[in-house]
Structure formats: C-alpha cells, structure tokens
C-alpha cells in the first residue's frame, strides 16, 4: 500500500507542475486581452438579438396569441431573464476585475485618521468598491474601529456596502432604465454618507460593546500582493462563478413572479395601495422591508412589475432599500459588537434616510 501511495502522490505533484508550466507558456497577456475583446463583441451581438428571440419563443414556438395575458407573461419572462443574466454576467465580471485593485486592508489604511465629512464620502464610495464577504461585517467593524477609523465613517462604509452593489444596479438598469439606476446609486450613497455623519455627531462611541473598545489588535500585516492581469481576470471569473451562481435562481424566480403580475394583475391595481396618493405607503414599505431578507436580484423584478401596475417609484425604491440595507440577520450579527441603543439608533437613522428618499421620489417624479 505505502509505495503505491507515494507513486500517486508524486504523479499529482508532477501534474500540477506541468499544468503550471503549460499555463505560463500558453497564456500570454495579449492573448487574454484578445479573448476578452472577442467575448465582449460576441456578448453585444447576442444581446441585440434578445427581442426577436423572445418573440420567436413566445409566438412561433409556443404559438401563444399576441396580446393575451399568457402571451404577455411568457414573452416578458423570455425577454427579461436572458437580458438580466447577460447584463449581470458582464458587470459582475468587470466589477470582479476592478475589485482586485482594492482590499479591506487598503481601505482601512485610507480611512484611518480621516476627518469626518471627507471620511464619510470616501467610506461610502469605497464601500461599493471594496470586496468583502457579507458575513465579515463584524470583523471589519472591529478592524476599522480599532485602527482609528471614526465610528461614523465606519458606518458610512457598512451602510453603503450592501445597499449600493453591482447586482442591484445592474437589475435596476436592465429592468427600469439607467435613470433609475443612477438615482438609486446617488441616493444610496447620500443615505450612507449622511447617516454615517449623523452617527459621528451623536457621539455614540461608548455604546460599542466593551470588549471591542478594550481590544488592542496586534497589527500583524496581511501580505501585500501584486497581481498580474491574468490573475485579475481570474478574479473576475471567480466573481461571476460566485455571484451569478448564487443569484441566478432569485433572478429567475423574481422575473417569473414579475411576469405573472405583468400579465394578470389589472392595470392600476397598485395605485390605491402603493401609489403616490397613499402617504402611509412609504413608511409601511420600510417597516415591511426590515424583516424581509432577500437580495436585490430577487426583489427588483417584482418591483419592476409593481411599477407597471401603478405603484409609485419612491415607495418601491424605499421598499427595496429597506429589504437589502436593513436586514434582521445583519442586525442580529451586529448586536455582538453594538449595544442595543446603538443598534436602535442605526435602524432609526438609516430608516429615516430611506423614508426621506421614498417621499422625495414620490414628490419629484
């Protein structure tokens, strides 16, 4: 048995070395660039055929009557699903490559010792670009606070990071157009900046759990690495595999629900409940959104369909922000480092920001 094991071990090692050598020989940077350019061109070509494709599937293959609720729903589904998935793949890849230029360690270095207002703006912006797993919100919080990043600035980061993300923006762009996507980006950032700044003013530092404040972190540095372009593109690929692999099911489910609403719910049905006239609908949307935990991928298609039935944009956006920025699981995790009063203030400040955005949109649009 023993010798056998050794032989197989040696073989695997050989194989790895061979593979590594082969990769280094064959994958030249110019080659990769060519592949990328070609893929993007191919992407554009396919993307432009989506409308005829949806028509073909709905009316030619499935032979559904034009203008019937069933036909409308099915066409909606076969147009929006590939469109959103394609947009998602492209953007997530791009953002994955971009994010390889940022690390939480760098971000912390940039933010440590920054003055409040400038720090809040920087933190919110970096919140979009810095890659971090949502479950490391607590370690990140500790890391920031102990490194001397002001509490308010840390909050700007933690609010912006989940709320303004590439998946939300892609879906808003794909389903509701670029104007709504930009509005969402700007107001999301503003909420993070202003809420964080407000936190700074409230002087709540002693409402962080004691063990965090007493903690002296040994500043052992994480090895800084220089990445090659090949590795950055690999980051993009990994991001697509990770994010698209995780959210596609929500996208498809969301669009399916959206498609049913689109075809079967009567025009103007939502006007009385979620329309501009119903002033109470914005706070109701925020409150309902808190215990709901979904990602942007599942919620935007539903929102898209609701809008078509007379729901007001502000109300709907407030609902979406509340669902993804104020989630119960996140609050429970944050409770480990924040005392109840600070958690309460967090919900109140971010919630008011979302309320404000909801009303603002309902008034101006």
């Amino acid at each position: 048995m023993e010798p056998m094991k050794n032989i197989s071990c040696a073989c695997t090692a050989c194989e790895i070395q061979h593979k590594a050598a082969r990769r280094q020989q064959t994958v030249h940077p110019p080659f990769i660039w060519a592949v990328i350019v070609l893929s993007v061109l191919l992407w554009i070509l396919i993307y432009r055929q989506l409308n005829p494709f949806a028509d073909f599937v709905t009316y030619t293959i499935l032979k559904l009557p034009i203008k019937s609720p069933m036909g409308e729903s099915v066409r909606f589904f076969f147009y929006d699903t590939p469109k959103v998935m394609m947009l998602l793949t492209l953007i997530v890849y791009g953002v994955g490559v971009l994010r390889s230029f940022f690390t939480p360690e760098h971000t912390r270095k940039i933010l440590a010792g920054k003055r409040e207002s400038v720090g809040n703006i920087l933190a919110a912006t970096l919140g979009i670009a810095t890659p971090f797993c949502s479950c490391s919100a607590v370690p990140l919080f500790i890391g920031f606070v102990t490194a001397g990043v002001p509490l308010g600035v840390t909050f700007s980061f933690l609010i912006a990071a989940p709320m303004v993300n590439e998946v939300a923006l892609v879906l808003l762009y794909g389903l509701l157009g670029w104007k709504v996507a930009i509005l969402y980006l700007i107001t999301g950032l503003l909420i993070a900046i202003i809420a964080g700044w407000t936190f700074g003013r409230l002087k709540l530092e002693n409402h962080i759990e004691d063990w965090v404040r007493e903690m002296r972190i040994n500043t052992s540095e994480v090895p800084d690495e220089r990445l090659t372009w090949t590795e950055r593109f690999d980051h993009g690929k990994a991001a697509v595999k990770d994010i698209v692999g995780k959210v596609w099911i929500y996208v498809v489910a969301g669009i399916a629900v959206g498609a049913c609403i689109h075809g079967y719910v009567p025009e103007g049905f939502m006007t009385s409940i979620m329309g501009k006239g119903a002033w109470w609908s914005v706070p109701a949307a925020v409150v309902i959104g808190i215990p709901m935990y979904s990602n942007a991928a599942g919620i935007v298609p539903v929102i898209h369909a609701l809008l078509g039935k007379g729901a007001a944009l502000g109300t709907v956006l407030a609902f979406m922000m509340s669902v993804i920025a104020l989630s119960l699981p996140e609050i429970i995790i944050l409770r480990k480092v924040l005392k109840p009063r600070l958690i309460g203030t967090f919900i109140a400040v971010v919630g008011s920001g979302i309320l404000f955005v909801g009303y603002l949109f309902n008034i101006i649009i």
Binding site: F132, C133, P139, V222
Partner: protein
C-alpha cells in the same frame, strides 16, 4: 507539527477555505492540526478583519478571500 487556523464566522466561503486547506494537507502529505475559529473576538485577536482568513503558525497567510488550491499548496512547502 504545523498549526493551521481557519478564521471565519461560518459562511459558505469559510467552509470552502477549510476544505481547500485540508485537501492541500492531504495532497502535500503534511501533518498539521487544523482549527476552525469562528468566534468574532478570537478572529479579531489575530489582527484579521476580513474573513475567511488562514493563519499558519501565527502568520497570516491570506485574508478576505478563498485561497486557490495551488496557493494553499505553496504555503505548506
């Protein structure tokens, strides 16, 4: 014996990291103790604030991402 710690609260990425480290150990034929650290206080004590992270004999090898198989093998050499 080498002491390896995988730091992370326990999401899918942390579990994947642990699997990669264990597989790398088997592949390299190295004997080591692998410990999973999921307590936030413990994680912070290591000076790590983005998870998953891997600490080998007190030295942070990577933080904030799942290491590749090849990278993990390199650490064990």
């Amino acid at each position: 014996m080498i002491n390896i710690k995988v730091l992370g609260p326990g999401c899918s990425k942390c579990i994947e990291t642990e699997k990669i480290v264990k597989n790398a150990l088997k592949e390299a034929g190295v004997d080591a103790s692998v410990e999973k650290v999921s307590d936030f206080q413990e994680i912070a004590k290591h000076g790590v604030f983005s998870t998953p992270a891997v600490v080998i004999d007190g030295e942070i090898k990577c933080a904030g991402k799942v290491p590749g198989r090849k990278v993990a093998l390199d650490w064990l050499k």
